[in-house]
């Protein structure tokens, strides 16, 4: 529901036939990254060359737009050790980017990632990229098959992180800018955007209620799982049993739009190195291995426990303002085993693991 304040800000409509024009103008201002038909019939977030490439009716890409604010290999410092002493310089990626037709879950996840990197000490390399990235989200009138965003308050309509919220009203889109960055993406586009009427805004609210009703009963109720995880009342035996259904691929971490664990390494040689941040996984055995050989999470069940503590505990919820899960459902698709978020949360709730 848009608040009165939000309504005052900047709520417009855009006729569907004018979308091309808007995208063309955005293309003139920076890179536009949107869901596109990728290779091999896969839908992927990709930089577009023309507005026609943007998909409007699509299954949420398996790879989230996280890779555009936090790439898997992210160069952050240039180091030169040649002759006259070592020279170091930060690497900032200041490309102007529009992340377009991002689903509300992914938009909220980007806001989460930004909050993580904003916390003191702030990470300038991440923030310089995020500052130049505008997130334009598209509400989900019909939920996706695997998503459970309602359970983590991250959808199906925009719930934070969207600089601009788009809603498909049928003949046109409702376009709501919630901040200066969003407004900037709408400015200078005379005639394209008309002020929204009360009816149009109400229509959006109706569509949101309708979309929420589509979610079934069996989604992913965090409540009791969060309580038990936070108070250490999940039996080790249950973690042990579940960990036998995990194949430690790391997929859940890499594909998760809110996971951001990383390692830092220097790449190169011969006096020139690039310090890179690289995606890492808390599910990997040596993630916590110390130089002495001691490993506080040598057992897989402890690593699994760690993952779900970070994602679902009250302690982190309080620290971060939200759970570390936006209910996008990708971990279900990517898990080589059977230990995706809904499965584990259900097992904790029922105090029993069922692999089906």
């Amino acid at each position: 529901m848009l608040s009165e304040l939000e309504m005052e800000r900047a709520v417009f409509t855009l006729r569907k036939r004018d979308v091309t024009e808007w995208l063309a103008r955005l293309l003139g201002q920076g890179e536009v990254i949107a869901p596109t038909s990728g290779p091999c019939g896969e839908v992927i977030f990709s930089k577009i060359d023309s507005p026609e490439q943007v998909l409007w009716d699509f299954e949420n890409p398996l790879s989230p737009p996280k890779q555009f604010v936090l790439p898997q290999t992210d160069p952050i410092v240039r180091i030169e050790c040649k002759g006259k002493g070592t020279q170091v310089a930060p690497i900032h990626d200041n490309r102007r980017r529009f992340l377009f037709n991002v689903r509300p879950c992914d938009a909220k996840a980007i806001a989460f990632l930004t909050r993580m990197h904003e916390t003191e000490p702030a990470d300038a390399s991440y923030l310089s990229r995020a500052a130049e990235t505008t997130v334009i989200s598209l509400d989900c009138n019909a939920p996706c098959t695997l998503g459970f965003c309602v359970c983590s308050d991250s959808g199906p309509f925009a719930s934070g992180g969207s600089d601009i919220e788009l809603t498909d009203l049928g003949e046109k889109y409702l376009v709501a800018a919630s901040c200066a960055k969003g407004e900037a993406a709408l400015s200078g586009m005379d005639g394209l955007f008309l002020p929204a009427t009360d009816e149009e805004v109400a229509q959006r609210d109706d569509l949101e209620s309708e979309a929420k009703r589509h979610f079934g009963d069996e989604t992913c109720h965090f409540g009791s799982a969060m309580r038990r995880i936070s108070t250490g009342r999940v039996d080790d035996a249950l973690w042990e049993q579940m960990s036998d259904w995990c194949l430690a691929c790391g997929g859940c971490n890499f594909i998760c739009p809110t996971c951001y664990c990383f390692s830092v390494g220097d790449r190169g040689g011969d006096g020139t190195w690039t310090r890179c941040r690289t995606w890492d996984s808390c599910q990997y055995a040596a993630f916590t291995l110390e130089a002495t050989g001691h490993n506080p999470r040598a057992q897989r069940r402890d690593r699994m426990k760690r993952r779900f503590f970070h994602k679902v505990s009250a302690q982190y919820f309080v620290r971060d303002g939200m759970a570390g899960c936006v209910g996008c459902g990708r971990c279900i698709s990517v898990c080589l085993g059977a230990t995706d978020m809904p499965a584990v949360v259900a097992a904790i709730r029922k105090r029993a693991w069922h692999e089906h």
């Binding site: 952050i76 410092v77 180091i79 050790c81 002493g85 070592t86 170091v88 310089a89 930060p90 993580m116 990197h117 916390t119 000490p121 702030a122 990470d123 300038a124 390399s125 923030l127 250490g232 951001y260 664990c261 990383f262 390692s263 830092v264 390494g265 220097d266 040689g269 190195w273 310090r275 941040r277 890492d280 808390c282 993630f287 916590t288 291995l289 110390e290 130089a291 002495t292 001691h294 506080p296 402890d302 760690r306 503590f309 970070h310 505990s313 302690q315 982190y316 620290r319």
Partner: protein
């Protein structure tokens, strides 16, 4: 504040001192005088040292902020990076990021007796605080240092140990697990040193650093003598990468050893959720 948190400052190795066959103390001086000026830290904090071409590793600052200028760090050879660092000579450049971590709470220790209990490579993190206390001697009461290593040659800061032994108001006792022909001191694990000194649990803050097994027995002994949880302090070790609480390698529950620690008292340690 510089928020390019992964960019190291450049420092030169000013001096190298052999402590043991596998441990050296490096004196590092920032290349830029204004960086040296601006570098402020608390005892107990650590830095991420870049050995260019090998990566970064966290090391505690073993010198005291009461002696500004160059900082010191004591490094044991455990792998590629530390091997490479041990090959570096005077004038070689390394990177420094930091200081990181919470450091020791020197304010709440004012007016107290200080007990330092260290085993082997556990002395470097405490050295920073020992020198701090010696340099601000009037702020603290009695100082007792109990230190043990496996063999006499594994003792670090051998010259300083001699200095501390003869410093007024400082009681020093040293032991080794296995003695050698010219060792005339005590033999046995660190807890045997408790018999050499009188402890006043009600007025003492105890700082304990060393191998986990040593810490376990020492703190058991201390609690047995009536030390309160909040008065027994240790430093926790974890694999670290970023040093700024973001990479998540060093987490214990929702606490980050690089930010909420590495210094913790035992009340906090008991509350940590593994």
């Amino acid at each position: 504040m510089n928020t390019d948190v992964f960019v190291p400052q450049i420092a030169r190795i000013d001096a190298v001192r052999d402590e043991t066959p596998d441990t050296k103390t490096f004196t590092l001086r920032f290349r830029e005088p204004r960086e040296e000026e601006a570098f402020r830290f608390l005892p107990g904090q650590f830095v991420e040292v870049s050995v260019f071409g090998y990566g970064e590793a966290p090391f505690c600052i073993a010198s005291s902020p009461t002696r500004p200028g160059a900082i010191e760090t004591t490094v044991r050879r455990t792998g590629r990076l530390t091997d490479a660092m041990h090959q570096l000579g005077i004038g070689a450049e390394v990177g420094i990021r930091g200081p990181f971590g919470n450091g020791f709470d020197v304010e709440s220790a004012r007016g107290k007796d200080l007990l330092f209990v260290a085993g082997g490579i556990g002395l470097p993190p405490l050295r920073s605080l020992i020198w701090y206390a010696l340099d601000r001697r009037e702020r603290f009461q009695d100082m007792t240092i109990l230190y043990g290593a496996r063999t006499p040659q594994d003792l670090v800061y051998k010259d300083e140990l001699k200095e501390w032994e003869t410093t007024a108001g400082v009681e020093l006792h040293v032991t080794v697990d296995t003695s050698s022909s010219d060792w005339t001191g005590k033999v046995g694990a660190v807890p045997v040193l408790f018999g050499e000194t009188t402890l006043r649990p009600e007025s003492t803050i105890a700082y304990v650093c060393g191998p986990p097994i040593m810490i376990k027995f020492v703190v058991q002994d201390l609690f047995g003598r009536g030390f309160q949880d909040e008065s027994v302090i240790s430093t926790l070790e974890r694999m670290m990468q970023c040093g700024i609480g973001k990479c998540n390698h060093c987490t214990i529950g929702h606490r980050y050893v690089c930010r909420d620690g590495p210094v913790f008292n035992f009340k906090q340690i008991r509350e940590l959720i593994e």
